[in-house]
């Protein structure tokens, strides 16, 4: 074992840290000199919210309820209701509360806040529907950035809703594939050493494909979701599009994992489509999940490599709260450095598993991203065989920097109306105003060396 402890001694750790630092500094320099994405969301609100937990709660609850409000008046009453719970109101809150006292004031306050929320939403959501999103997708492509479209929607509680979502997915595939045919050539986004990469890329959620996902009975949800996922795989195959199946919370983890591996093993889907799944590094047992995936890859021959998107995971608070309420051990790392280290560990294992997998490293953490690029290079890989993914609205500067460095970057682009988008939006906001968030660190002006430093495990390995 090397100084790092957990990594096999194949790549020289010192050389890796040097290369990584070099890459990180170059990426940082290549980031456009715009406002930090968090600040850009809403100048004052997010800054304030990051500092004041009560105000943060008030603003998020407000953003969350906007689509359910019936009038500007109703909107204003909610806003003042939430702000009224902040114990030490700042001057702007005082102004808002005063406006809430009159009918005209409430109308103005409602209109202003609705506009604010819409503006925030539009930074993260690229269009109301796939057609409306095509302009953004094409502009990204032209700038050397690929995309994966995610259809936002309400929770699926009925069979009709599941079917509606499946239909929207099928239509999205048609729409994007038709439009993408007219995009200019971007060789770096369209091919790696394993073969061609589809231009059209859609991410789907299993929880939206069935109302029957039950944590205690995964089989039932799997069966029902499979009936709607098969036609989508078929359609993606016919159209030559890539279908990516997202991961959600731990409650559905096993069902989703088994569903993907089962369906992709079916004879019909051996020849295609190009498909992918997600590995969540914040889960303590994610190394075992990767074992399962790699064992499967060794057993099942498919025409396309399986794309694995490595993420840290977006349901950390949910997992912690659920575990605490039930008295369970948390399924996620509770110390950020442990999660970051695991992310690097999994990055290496995934890169070492090529060509059976295509690796997509999805993070806004400059260290995690630079680590993937550096390890890939030092272990003899081509830049073109590593994909980097960012989120629309949060990873924009990193996206630009990666594209400028001729690295393959794909941006996750949520599509949907305001109602559907709100849960997504709130989750993104929560994630990125957390004090441990990389973007938050960056925004507070942490030194580059600090941002690129090797994470230190909470307990010795």
């Amino acid at each position: 074992m090397t100084r790092g402890g957990i990594f096999p001694d194949m790549v020289d750790e010192r050389a890796l840290e040097e290369e990584l630092g070099e890459i990180g500094r170059r990426l940082a320099a290549a980031m456009p000199v715009t406002r930090n994405p968090l600040k850009a969301i809403d100048e004052k609100a997010m800054d304030l919210a990051s500092q004041d937990a009560e105000l943060k709660a008030a603003l998020f609850r407000f953003v969350d309820v906007v689509p359910a409000c019936r009038s500007l008046e109703d909107l204003a009453r909610h806003l003042t209701g939430f702000l009224g719970e902040v114990e030490q109101p700042t001057a702007p809150i005082g102004v808002a509360m005063k406006m809430g006292n009159t009918r005209a004031g409430r109308a103005a306050l409602g209109a202003a806040s609705a506009a604010g929320v819409r503006r925030m939403a539009h930074r993260f959501i690229v269009g109301e529907d796939p057609k409306a999103a095509l302009g953004v997708l094409r502009d990204l492509w032209k700038d050397g950035v690929a995309s994966s479209v995610d259809l936002l929607g309400e929770a699926t509680v009925t069979a009709a809703e599941a079917q509606r979502y499946a239909d929207r997915c099928a239509n999205a595939l048609d729409t994007i594939v038709a439009a993408a045919a007219r995009w200019p050539e971007r060789p770096q986004l369209e091919r790696d050493s394993a073969g061609p990469l589809p231009r059209a890329n859609l991410s789907v959620k299993v929880s939206a494909l069935t109302p029957l996902l039950r944590p205690d009975a995964p089989e039932r949800g799997k069966r029902d979701a499979a009936d709607r996922l098969r036609p989508l795989l078929r359609r993606a195959n016919e159209l030559g599009a890539h279908l990516h199946i997202d991961m959600e919370s731990m409650d559905s983890r096993d069902a989703v994992l088994e569903l993907i591996l089962d369906l992709l093993s079916e004879d019909e889907f051996r020849s295609g489509p190009s498909a992918g799944m997600v590995l969540q590094a914040y889960l303590r047992d994610s190394p075992q999940t990767l074992d399962t995936i790699l064992e499967w890859l060794g057993r099942v021959e498919r025409a396309h490599p399986l794309t694995v998107r490595l993420v840290k995971g977006a349901y950390w608070d949910h997992e912690i709260v659920e575990a605490r309420q039930h008295g369970w051990d948390a399924p996620v790392f509770e110390v950020k450095a442990d999660c970051d280290l695991n992310f690097e560990h999994l990055t290496r294992r995934l890169l070492d598993a090529r060509p059976a997998v295509r690796v997509a490293v999805a993070s806004h953490n400059l260290r995690s991203v630079s680590h993937a690029i550096a390890y890939n290079r030092l272990s003899g890989g081509q830049d073109g065989d590593l994909e980097l993914q960012v989120l629309r609205g949060l990873g924009d500067p990193l996206q630009t920097a990666l594209a400028r460095q001729d690295l393959r970057v794909r941006t996750y682009c949520p599509v949907g109306d305001l109602v559907a988008g709100m849960a997504y939006l709130v989750r993104r906001l929560l994630e990125n105003t957390s004090n441990e968030s990389f973007l938050h660190e960056q925004a507070r002006g942490a030194a580059l060396d600090e941002l690129l430093a090797r994470p230190v495990a909470s307990t010795p390995a």
Binding site: R61, A68, R70, H78, G81, A155, T158, R214, D254, H326
Partner: protein, 550 residues
């Protein structure tokens, strides 16, 4: 756990020249507390993990290999078996789960003659209850499997019931040690004031079948923790579960004279309630029986030198208010859970949804779709959503009210997948557009039937809740904090849940119990519950003698 100390009371310290009253006792409590970690809820099984689910089938196979349980009338060291009462699997009524002897009149008398308060110190009683908790922990799946069979409790619910039973034991054990400290009183020079609590005597525990281990054990444990003798008359539908919990207590060390088990039908309970040797009646069950008990307990027959105390947890007609700003993504699953888990056979279950007219139709549409896909089936099958109801009477009652809903209003949805076969299955049903005087909106149905009503606004909903004689649980889905405050202010219910499902109260987190005709307002699993089982004694001693404080 401060049982009786009013806020701020402990700030009034006695003058320094007088030693603190409870010094000696405090040392003892510290010893016991050192052995008892602070209370935490027993974790339910993490059934989302495959290896944990895999254990269930084995436990059930073990259970099925054994012959039917023989439940005795158990008084002191005597056990008399019999087959007067037969409990069967509600999902397959031909399967016999337990055969029980029914206590005869002379056995009720014998149990009362044998009953002796449990005079061991509180710390010792607490240790025994903690041992009983451990007994259950070690047989957790075995006990849950029995509940699956005897009461058609689906696995997650059965497991939660055993956990709650463990929680009651652990919680009341700690509470009893605290209560033995007495209550702090104001002390002035020259007198010593002391308030202590003594057991009331004999507690008749009359328990229901729907939480067949937890509720019976909770009431019994509270009686025993405080030093009373307990005589348990369990529901005739669940004698097997009652036998197991009695074994847990006895094998943990509860003296034979302090705990008797009297299986039987209603007349056993009635005899206990009327007997002058009974001091306290702890009852959970229907409203009708509860009111009978309250009436009977008020009588003071010749020779009875005390007033009986009744602790009653009765029915409900629980309402969930849904305001126009509610998130239906959250509301629909929470309503399905509240109304249909365990086929709606929980006193806390949702029976009425009072929905703001602006989103009424959208809610009905989504809720209907969610109910249609509910799967009804055997309780041992993790893939089902709704098990059978407890017995044929219950099945017929649900059908009667569903017909009533159909004629008075309309059936907006019914689960599609309901097995044929011999089990007492009842389809989860959503009723809508009912007239305000429909019995579907006022009677406790205790089955998988949910009614939704259109209201003008939250105040209209609060008026309807206020018009009900019941006040057990309630729910509110609203996101404006001012609305939430207003509904909290107006709500009469014992347990109000905001923006979540209204079932699943946890010991120490949601002390549980209803107001109005739903109960006596006592809160099981909460501070103060044990006070119902004791009587306070205050002693004031003059410590001034010839001008000296002695």
């Amino acid at each position: 756990m401060a049982y009786v100390c009013p806020p701020g009371e402990d700030k009034r310290k006695p003058p320094p020249s007088i030693p603190p009253l409870n010094a000696a006792v405090d040392v003892r409590r510290d010893i016991v507390h050192a052995q008892m970690k602070p209370f935490t809820n027993e974790p339910i099984l993490e059934l989302r993990r495959g290896p944990i689910r895999a254990q269930l089938a084995g436990a059930l196979a073990e259970h099925d290999k054994r012959p039917a349980l023989h439940v005795p009338v158990w008084i002191g060291d005597d056990q008399r078996e019999g087959a007067d009462i037969v409990s069967t699997d509600p999902g397959r009524p031909e399967r016999v789960v337990a055969e029980a002897a029914a206590a005869a009149k002379d056995e009720v008398d014998a149990a009362l003659r044998a009953a002796r308060p449990w005079t061991a110190p509180a710390e010792e009683r607490a240790q025994v209850l903690v041992r009983a908790a451990q007994w259950l922990r070690e047989r957790r799946l075995e006990v849950a499997a029995l509940e699956v069979r005897e009461c058609a409790k689906p696995w997650p619910e059965a497991d939660a019931d055993v956990c709650e039973a463990i929680d009651f034991l652990e919680y009341y054990a700690r509470g009893a040690v605290d209560l033995a400290q007495g209550a702090p009183l104001l002390q002035v020079p020259g007198e010593r004031n002391e308030m202590t609590y003594a057991p009331r005597g004999v507690v008749a525990v009359i328990s229901p079948w729907n939480f067949p281990v937890a509720i019976a054990l909770g009431m019994t444990a509270a009686a025993l923790a405080t030093g009373n003798a307990a005589i348990l008359k369990p529901a005739e539908q669940s004698p097997g579960c009652a036998f197991v919990l009695t074994r847990a207590l006895r094998e943990a060390g509860v003296p034979p004279s302090a705990l008797a088990l009297l299986p039987g039908e209603g007349e056993v309970g009635a005899a206990l309630v009327r007997d002058p040797r009974v001091h306290t009646i702890a009852f959970t069950g229907s409203n009708k029986v509860g009111l009978d008990i309250v009436r009977a307990a008020a009588e003071v027959p010749p020779g009875q030198k005390h007033l009986k105390r009744v602790i009653a947890e009765m029915g409900g007609k629980n309402c969930v208010i849904v305001d126009s700003d509610a998130d239906l993504d959250e509301v629909v699953p929470a309503l399905v859970k509240s109304a249909f888990l365990y086929a709606g056979q929980k006193c806390s279950a949702a029976a009425r949804v009072l929905c703001h007219e602006a989103i009424h139709d959208a809610l009905v549409e989504r809720l209907a779709g969610a109910i249609e896909v509910l799967e009804v089936g055997q309780a041992d099958d993790l893939e089902i959503d709704v098990p059978p109801v407890i017995e044929e009477d219950a099945q017929q009652r649900v059908a009667r009210y569903a017909a009533e809903a159909q004629s008075g209003g309309r059936i907006a949805a019914r689960a599609r997948s309901v097995p044929d076969g011999s089990g007492w299955f009842a389809a989860p049903t959503l009723a809508a557009d009912l007239p305000t005087d429909s019995p579907v909106l006022s009677d406790e149905i205790f089955g998988p039937l949910l009614a939704v009503e259109r209201v003008r606004d939250v105040d209209d909903a609060c008026d309807r809740v206020d018009a009900s004689p019941f006040a057990l649980t309630g729910g509110l889905f609203a996101r404006n904090p001012d609305t939430v405050d207003r509904v909290i202010e107006r709500s009469p219910v014992g347990n109000l849940y905001v923006n979540r499902a209204i079932t699943g109260a946890m010991v120490a987190r949601q002390p549980f119990g209803g107001n109005r005709l739903s109960g006596t307002g006592t809160k099981a699993g909460g501070p103060g519950y044990l006070l119902q089982f004791v009587e306070p004694h205050v002693v004031t001693e003059n410590t001034m003698r010839h001008g000296l404080v002695v």
